[in-house]
């Protein structure tokens, strides 16, 4: 591979933040280089400083942040450039797109207005010419009906479309470098694939360098020529992508590469009893309506679904946001009102009220996606874990409860001496372990796991998946595993349900569906998530 001219070089960059708890160093003296037309990935987990590196380069740090070192763009140090000099480069030579497509556009101005502004500013074009230019850009990023979209406001567009507009804006002035900060993380997997394809096409057409900031190794492998691996503010490994992937040298890189959950779950015996069964389960939400506001709109979130969970089985439910998978999980636990019949251990619970359900609650547990929101911030971990015991085993003494808390914490791999600490003193993965301990202490039979790994870093995900599998084996549990992450589902579930808009699109044994998806929607999902060659770029 020929070495292209270096357009951006980051030298001994340090980023510090003044916080209430003192100065925190987020980036600890790193060096990076970006060649013309090259795709460079900066990969790392949350807190690695990968985003702050590029924020510092663009002088976009929060007001309590401070950067030292140098960031040279064709001989100009961006960190010391005057404001007007900086704005000659930003938006013109180096541009950036962000992780949050929903909020990155100004909600108060039309798409057209926001596209035209940087064009006029940097190219000194007249209003009409700039408008023409903006329209061309919208066509370039394949926004349907661009004339009409010029007059639209961001709130009238979907996340994927907004991200296209962001890309159009970033490419408006034919930049040298496009920095893409997790541009697809907040999007559904099929939309992710479309945006990545678009970026790849545009790079081939326009020839700019792309700096890709991501936690997703799949994207790096498909997309990047070279890669920098960051960890806790330092670059631990760098090199040509293929070399790093095939022969990682740093243990952290090795760990990251092996972080993909592996293994398969064997199905339970065919004669295993059915524990939880739903027939024609239907959940309808009313939207709007009320006093003087007319009839409410009806949203059928779960549309006549049949499901049967056997003892020891894990059913994976996959689907994109809004497919109704979480609603179904909650309805089956009777945390939401629903139509149709729900039976638990051959008992009809679809009409059971709160009081009837209370003794059953210990058998039917739930683990949430967000390990930050699901733990009460003002209770100690011990109190959180044992709250269920107060309800279901009220005869226990405080001492016995404490002992049970220690047992439960050990079972999920946490040190019991931490039981008097508060949730905010733990990391995301530890918190999810606490949430699992809270469910397990009651010795349930069925656990609904609602995206339990989605908020976690990949390496932590793997640990949680392994923990869940171990607990299932030890206690013969049945899981309903709700996720949008196909890799995790494949490692967890023996049976798979694919949902879309409240309906089941396809279901069957996990391996059968992965190997041979029948429905088009399933195929798209699989392709977007799994096929590493589809978006491969330059050699």
């Amino acid at each position: 591979m020929s070495t292209p001219e270096t357009v951006l070089s980051v030298n001994d960059l340090r980023v510090r933040f003044r916080t209430l708890d003192g100065v925190v160093e987020a980036v600890k003296g790193i060096n990076l280089k970006v060649g013309a037309g090259e795709t460079v990935a900066i990969v790392g987990e949350s807190g690695s400083g990968k985003s702050q590196t590029m924020m510092a380069a663009m002088r976009l740090l929060a007001s309590n942040g401070e950067a030292t070192g140098s960031v040279d763009y064709r001989g100009r140090n961006l960190l010391t450039l005057s404001k007007s000099g900086l704005n000659e480069v930003r938006g013109r030579k180096i541009t950036m797109i962000f992780q949050e497509p929903m909020t990155s556009l100004d909600p108060l101005y039309t798409i057209g207005n926001q596209l035209i502004e940087p064009i006029q500013r940097h190219r000194k074009l007249g209003a009409a010419a700039a408008r023409e230019e903006a329209l061309k850009l919208l066509k370039l990023v394949k926004i349907p009906d661009p004339e009409r979209r010029m007059k639209s406001y961001p709130y009238e567009m979907s996340g994927g479309q907004r991200q296209r507009v962001m890309i159009a804006m970033a490419l408006a002035n034919d930049p040298d470098i496009l920095i893409a900060d997790e541009p697809t993380t907040a999007l559904d997997v099929t939309i992710q694939a479309q945006i990545l394809t678009l970026l790849a096409e545009l790079q081939q057409k326009l020839g700019m360098a792309i700096v890709f900031i991501t936690h997703d190794l799949g994207i790096v492998r498909r997309f990047a020529d070279r890669v920098y691996v960051m960890r806790q503010g330092e670059v631990v490994e760098e090199g040509v992508t293929e070399a790093v992937f095939s022969k990682p040298t740093h243990p952290y890189t090795k760990m990251l590469l092996s972080a993909e959950p592996t293994g398969r779950k064997a199905p339970p015996a065919p004669n295993a009893p059915i524990l939880l069964q739903g027939r024609d389960v239907e959940v309808v939400f009313k939207i709007g309506g009320g006093f003087l506001a007319g009839d409410p709109m009806l949203l059928r979130a779960v549309d006549r679904i049949n499901i049967a969970l056997r003892k020891g089985q894990t059913i994976g439910i996959v689907g994109e946001s809004g497919s109704g998978k979480s609603t179904l999980g909650r309805a089956l636990l009777r945390l939401l009102g629903s139509e149709g019949s729900i039976r638990f251990e051959n008992r009809d619970i679809s009409k059971a009220d709160k009081g009837d359900m209370r003794p059953l609650r210990r058998e039917l547990q739930l683990v949430f996606q967000d390990p930050f929101g699901s733990l009460s911030p003002r209770m100690t971990v011990g109190q959180i874990i044992t709250e269920g015991l107060l309800v279901h085993e009220p005869s226990l003494s405080a001492k016995q409860r404490d002992a049970r808390a220690c047992e439960a914490l050990e079972e999920v791999g946490l040190d019991p001496i931490m039981r008097n600490r508060y949730p905010h003193e733990f990391s995301g993965g530890q918190r999810q372990r606490i949430a699992i301990a809270r469910a397990m202490i009651l010795k349930p039979k069925v656990v609904v796991l609602d995206e339990p790994t989605s908020a976690l870093d990949r390496s932590v995900q793997k640990q949680i998946v392994e923990l869940l599998r171990k607990l299932q084996k030890d206690h013969d549990l049945s899981y309903l595993f709700i996720s949008h992450d196909l890799a995790v589902v494949r490692a967890m579930a023996d049976y798979l349900i694919v949902m879309k808009q409240g309906k089941i699109v396809e279901e069957g044994m996990t391996d059968a569906i992965f190997d041979n998806p029948r429905e088009e929607y399933t195929q798209t999902l699989m392709a977007a998530a799994m096929d590493p060659t589809k978006f491969r770029l330059s050699a």
Binding site: E387, V391, D415, G429
Partner: protein, 378 residues
């Protein structure tokens, strides 16, 4: 950082004590200089208002007719140049004439004459004067028409000066502070109690009940606030305890809205859903999850409510609707000060300083608490 911290310790007997959010907040508050200085200042203010009046040598009700509108000063009264006038006034009341007077040390000797026999009881006029005490009759002429009296000059300090009728402003300001702070606390507590109960009920029951309860609050909001207060004054007369309980009962509206909003948002939190999924009863959820998480906003709002109440009390007293003479409050004093601004500006400046500095301190504490309990805002 690895998440696996598997520990083989057998049911560990000892546990590390964590730092709760309250502990964090307290540490942050302690680091906030403005808030801490304000806190000390407020404690200081409360102490001098409660204890101070016992140490000031004047009662807040005592009237010194000789010292009407005396300017504040570190040196004692009466002044050398005013001794003669005070003496003249007292002697005039005896209906006798001054023949001669002189001062030796702190005693004043006066010789009076009259066409009639000078009555010995006349000394009481000197005694009554605010400038003198320890009056003795030193000698009487044989015919009784002339008498020499002597008296000590009574030294009095009026550090803050005196008011329109000659009452010591220092003792009045401290006394007023007692009343103002007490009312602020009392009415503040009333408002918080009503607001929390109402708001929490609405927020927790939700649905139609919530809608109706909040509509009532909206209607009460749309009535002019001062109308309410005046109606309360009309109803309760000028009994200030009752009235300020009533004032507290008016100020609960904001509290109710805040608490309702918080209760609604806490109910939607996943940790409450988690508790519901474990079958925890409504009571358990309210006790273990809702109340502890509501406490923060309530404490913040309470510290911001107390200055509001003090301000309202001053406002009413300023209008003559609040605390009645001879009882006093900062509002009463400021009102009097504003009316005498041309002749005796200290009547405005001292109480105004006390009131404003206290309100400042309370505001800084409130802001500090908010930053400490809710650090996201910074």
């Amino acid at each position: 950082m690895t998440d696996v911290t598997a520990a083989p310790t057998p049911a560990a007997a000892k546990a590390v004590v964590g730092r709760s959010l309250w502990g964090d907040a307290w540490a942050r508050l302690k680091a906030n200089k403005a808030a801490m200085i304000s806190l000390y200042y407020l404690v200081f203010m409360a102490v001098i208002c409660v204890v101070g009046p016992y140490f000031v040598p004047h009662l807040y009700t005592t009237i010194y007719p000789d010292y009407v509108r005396t300017a504040p000063s570190f040196s004692p009264y009466p002044r050398a140049e005013t001794i003669e006038t005070s003496l003249g006034d007292a002697v005039k009341r005896m209906r006798v004439d001054i023949k001669e007077w002189h001062q030796e040390g702190d005693r004043v000797f006066v010789t009076v004459t009259s066409s009639k026999k000078v009555d010995e009881r006349n000394v009481r006029y000197l005694e009554r004067s605010d400038a003198f005490d320890n009056v003795t009759i030193d000698s009487t002429s044989p015919d009784g028409l002339e008498m020499v009296m002597s008296a000590s000059v009574k030294q009095q300090y009026f550090l803050f000066g005196t008011d329109n009728v000659g009452r010591d402003l220092l003792s009045r300001t401290l006394m007023a502070g007692r009343i103002s702070l007490a009312i602020g606390l009392l009415a503040g507590i009333v408002a918080v109690v009503i607001g929390v109960i109402y708001g929490a009920t609405a927020g927790f029951i939700g649905g139609k009940t919530d809608e109706i309860m909040m509509r009532i609050v909206d209607v009460l909001y749309s009535l002019p606030f001062i109308f309410f207060v005046i109606m309360l004054v009309v109803f309760f007369g000028r009994n200030f305890i009752l009235m300020f309980l009533a004032v507290g009962a008016v100020l609960w509206l904001d509290m109710a809205r805040i608490v309702r909003g918080q209760a609604l948002s806490i109910r939607r939190q996943e940790y409450v859903q988690a508790a519901e999924a474990m079958g925890v009863s409504t009571r358990g959820i309210v006790r273990r999850h809702v109340i502890p998480n509501l406490l923060g906003p309530v404490v913040i709002y309470m510290t911001l409510l107390v200055p509001q109440v003090i301000l309202l009390e001053s406002f009413l007293s300023f209008l003559g609707l609040g605390v009645q003479e001879p009882m006093t409050s900062w509002g009463v004093l400021i009102s009097a000060g504003a009316k005498n601004i041309g002749t005796a500006n200290w009547l405005l400046l001292f109480p105004a300083f006390f009131l404003v500095s206290t309100l400042f301190a309370l505001n800084f504490i409130g802001d500090g608490l908010r930053d400490a309990l809710d650090p996201k805002d910074r």
